[in-house]
Symmetry: none
DNA sequence: CATGAATGAGTTTTCATTCAT
DNA sequence: TATGAATGAAAACTCATTCAT
């Protein structure tokens, strides 16, 4: 089953790349973005030099500017694409869920996977390198995040209604956001605890049976 | 009561300063640390220049180096002092608590206050500027954090036992860490929700009645 | 008459192009030179990139190097051709003049037209981008300019003799050079003052009736 | 007499420096401006690197930015100060002149001296490096030039009236501007022709006896 | 001939840190 | 202690030029 999930993710990337919504991860530009995300996450945006990125990709530093006008254009691209990609993935999973509880579980699972899986570097960058983005680019990314959060709020409210629970969705989502995004600092993908199990734990923070 | 709490905090600072464990916040050095924390939080460590800090304090950039050997010594001092201070505060509150549940509530309350109150800037810096610290200084701060986390684990375990709940304390504490530290990005000190109420909400994530 | 003059200029270009002395302005290379001259004049040689020129012509930057070995080869060609062309034109007009005064007037007229007419961009480049040329190319262009100046000195001397005036031709020509070439900064081709009228004004600086 | 003139110039600089209108040429900043002007004139603004200037002054390239925020701030300062200085000098000479003819002669003399004397480098830069200035700085300098030109127009008109000549002052001043500024390319300060003699020649271009 | 990705040397600029005063 | 000019290493970015396709 895990293999099916992974295949579905690859199919989605391919389809989004074909539509020009994200960069093909196999292209020169796509590899550059992946390496940059890795470095930005590990060292932080400011402490990562353009030369570092170039060295990681195996090109000369000047060549970077063939693909991106500036260093912070790279940062923006990383953030934009990771939102676009996860947004599409979440929408699909929510649509396929049979109950509101399961839709919320799918979102949690998806966000945990986003943070700890293949897009983990990009998600960390999105969360922790926010202030390194120029103001106008921040506004642009903020617009995308708003859409993303709208999906969360809606799904969460449905799940609470279904469980006959009342709670402040605004507060609850934010507590959960912190809990889930923080997993990047401690969750071990190769450890005993699977993403699905962790997701169940996290769901319990919200929905009490 | 709130006034009493605030007074207690000031007394603690004074007492710690007298022991040389933290810098007197009214001294030149103390004001420098506060301003630096504010700037590091707002702009990030790397994007904050020594000149920025000097300007904020009202001195010349060269003068900073009479107080601190280097820029990252400032960062270390901010992190060290905020841990030392909150550690002492938490120990006292845990000792005074009548039940394990209340001890845990006190910790949560204290961490929320640390993150959103007077030491908010320093706490944010501690969490988000971690990688800007040189490796040897990271190790030093890590030692302090270990003590801090030990207090948390212990208290949490007592509270779970008391409530006849079983859970993975390791996982639970980390989910909570994320949830609480993330409040810095959204919690409004002057809003309707008080720190105590928020703490009660957060406690519910852990202890189910 | 104006049309005849314009036609004569086109005929001259055609004839020089046929002899390989200048580049046919309708050819790809010729259009490149014209666009480059326009940009060099507007922005200066250094601030004009090879990409700017390529974009203006509608080709890719790499393709430029099929026409010219280097960027400063373009600059040299612009300078060389504008001298060659105007030199030929002046020789013809001097030969056709009935009096020395009129020969000088023809030269003035021709230089004003060179500076403000079709070759205005190239002439500006010749005057103001001089130092951007590599030393050996400067020497080459200097040789051409010497010929050009010889024609001026000779004609001027004849005109002064004819008018029974004595003056330092060296100084006078240089004062005039400055006055005429500076017109590029203020003379309005579409204004009330015609080139011929302006030439008469300029002639008065030299020959007093 | 020449020595008196030179002394008067030095006195003026000193007085303007004391008022903060120009930079003291003996200060570090003043020497930097002089060297930069020399290099900008010789090689052009773009081909002169900040390192070139630093080397000429005998400091490190980074130190330049202690005195000027950017390279083009240096260019602006050169242009601004040379106008301010010559403006003051001209105003004084015009005020002291007994006839309108002599006032105009003084202006010509002063401009020739500005172009060929101590401020020759700066004047050349003002004329030939114009486009290297950022647009907003161009506007600022343009304001100063307008004042400068107003003084010229006025004085020229008086001189023409006094000589019972009619002429287009606009055209005449521009022809003269070109003639005078171009002297920088050929006039030899140590040659036989003195500035005063050259000024008399130039005056003849305007006022016919 | 044309393309356009890649090069790599060179540019301006930044900034923590030093040190003579 | 405080100052602020000077340092110098390192940063992001530019761009003429090359070359495989």
């Amino acid at each position: 089953m895990a293999i099916q999930v992974e295949q579905a993710k690859l199919d989605l990337v391919e389809s989004l790349a074909a539509q020009g919504l994200v960069t093909d991860p196999l292209s020169a530009k796509g590899r550059l973005l992946a390496k940059a995300a890795k470095l930005f996450r590990a060292k932080g945006y400011e402490r990562t030099t353009v030369r570092d990125i170039a060295a990681e990709v195996g090109i000369q530093s000047g060549s970077i500017f063939h693909h991106f006008k500036s260093k912070d254009e790279i940062l923006k691209a990383i953030m934009e694409e990771v939102i676009v990609y996860n947004m599409h993935r979440m929408r699909k999973l929510v649509d396929e869920a049979d109950t509101a509880r399961n839709a919320l579980l799918a979102l949690i699972c998806c966000e945990l996977d986003a943070v700890n899986g293949l897009t983990g570097n990009a998600m960390s960058v999105l969360v922790y390198e926010w202030r390194s983005l120029s103001e106008d680019k921040q506004r642009f990314i903020l617009g995308l995040r708003a859409e993303y959060e709208a999906l969360w709020s809606e799904t969460m409210q449905y799940a609470l209604d279904e469980a006959d629970q009342t709670a402040d969705v605004f507060v609850l989502r934010r507590l959960l956001t912190g809990a889930l995004s923080w997993t990047t600092t401690w969750y071990d993908t190769n450890g005993k605890l699977s993403i699905n199990e962790l997701a169940e734990e996290a769901l319990k923070l919200v929905i009490k049976e």
